[in-house]
């Protein structure tokens, strides 16, 4: 496995901190520390929901010059992630992708791909193969 910080980072965004953490645990079990990984879940008040600031922090935590692939569950997680990408600034926004893939399977497969040093485009394509459309 190639060096951690050179590999594409993975961010998991769920409405539930338990789902996000559980998915992240599964990623860790698969790839260990070889991939930058961060998760967030829940709204700013600690209930179920999404928190754009927490997504921004997660992107920072999992940041890699190779880029970051984000996995989301429901609509709010997607739109808040897109908003976060817009706010992070043009230089890095082009290297962050919200994947159209199931959150758990997508994150695990993407991380496995990323741990081998694959490019962001390859990581995203591999995860998106899981989705029918």
């Amino acid at each position: 496995m190639s060096d951690r910080r050179e590999n594409v980072g993975i961010v998991i965004v769920s409405h539930s901190p338990l789902v996000a953490k559980g998915a992240a645990d599964m990623v860790r079990q698969m790839v260990g520390d070889s991939v930058p990984l961060a998760w967030c879940g829940g709204n700013p008040a600690g209930g179920l929901g999404t928190d754009m600031e927490a997504i921004l922090r997660a992107i920072e935590d999992a940041w890699s010059e190779a880029g970051v692939a984000i996995f989301v569950d429901l609509g709010g997680a997607e739109t808040n992630s897109e908003m976060a990408i817009e706010m992070i600034g043009k230089g890095r926004a082009a290297r962050i992708v919200v994947c159209n893939a199931p959150i758990v399977e997508g994150a695990v497969i993407a991380a496995a791909e990323a741990s081998g040093g694959a490019s962001l485009a390859k990581v995203v394509a591999t995860a998106q193969e899981l989705s029918p459309s």
Binding site: N43, T50, D51, M52, L74, T79, N80, M83
Partner: protein
């Protein structure tokens, strides 16, 4: 009206911006349960709480916001809403204010045009169109009425009707879309909150024009 047609703020408009924010906060607080009930019927039941949290965060900054040029205030307010509403509505309301502010600061376009452009950005953000049972069903006719300079009193009376139109619509975006046909018969909570705030702002502007 000063607020709508020129970005430079006089002392009076500082007070007006404060009052508009306070009135929207009060509306969010008093209608929290109602908006949650609407969301519970076709979603996850948190829309009222999310909006109340966003508007309370906005109200906490009202002195600062009211002292800024309107374009900067709209951008700052949009950021506060995105950070604090939290649900799917956060990016939509945030985009509406952010893009209106950017439009006002970018060129010499008047408020109605900036708002119209921002509504287009909201549609893109949510990948939805009018008729999809979202807040766009209020925002689109509202922005068109502003461009046509519809009388404020007539507009204030029409706005709730825009939200009511969503009752018969089938949701195709967001969690309500999982219900398919069963989403018909319920008002969209985003359209309802949008109508609530737009009506509240109209009333504050009319109040100011009168005094």
């Amino acid at each position: 009206m000063n607020l709508v047609h020129e970005p430079g703020l006089s002392f009076d408009t500082v007070a007006l911006v404060c009052r508009v924010i306070e009135a929207c906060r009060d509306a969010a607080v008093s209608q929290e349960a109602y908006l949650c009930d609407l969301d519970r019927a076709i979603g996850d039941g948190d829309h009222g709480t999310n909006m109340r949290r966003g508007l309370e965060a906005l109200a906490a900054e009202r002195q600062l916001l009211s002292a800024m040029p309107l374009s900067d205030a709209m951008i700052a307010a949009g950021t506060i809403l995105v950070m604090n509403i939290g649900g799917a509505a956060g990016p939509l309301y945030g985009t509406l204010l952010l893009e209106t502010g950017k439009g006002l600061s970018a060129g010499q376009i008047p408020f109605p045009q900036a708002f119209l452009q921002a509504v287009g950005a909201v549609a893109q953000r949510g990948r939805s169109s009018p008729g999809d049972k979202t807040l766009l069903d209020v925002l689109v006719p509202l922005s068109e009425a502003l461009v046509k300079q519809t009388d404020m009193r007539c507009l204030a009376e029409e706005i709730q009707g825009f939200a009511d139109m969503t009752i018969d619509m089938k949701a195709v975006r967001g969690r309500a879309s999982f219900l398919g046909e069963r989403s018909i018969g319920h008002m969209d909570p985003g359209a309802a909150s949008c109508a609530l705030f737009a009506t509240t702002v109209c009333h504050e502007l009319m109040e100011t024009a009168r005094s």
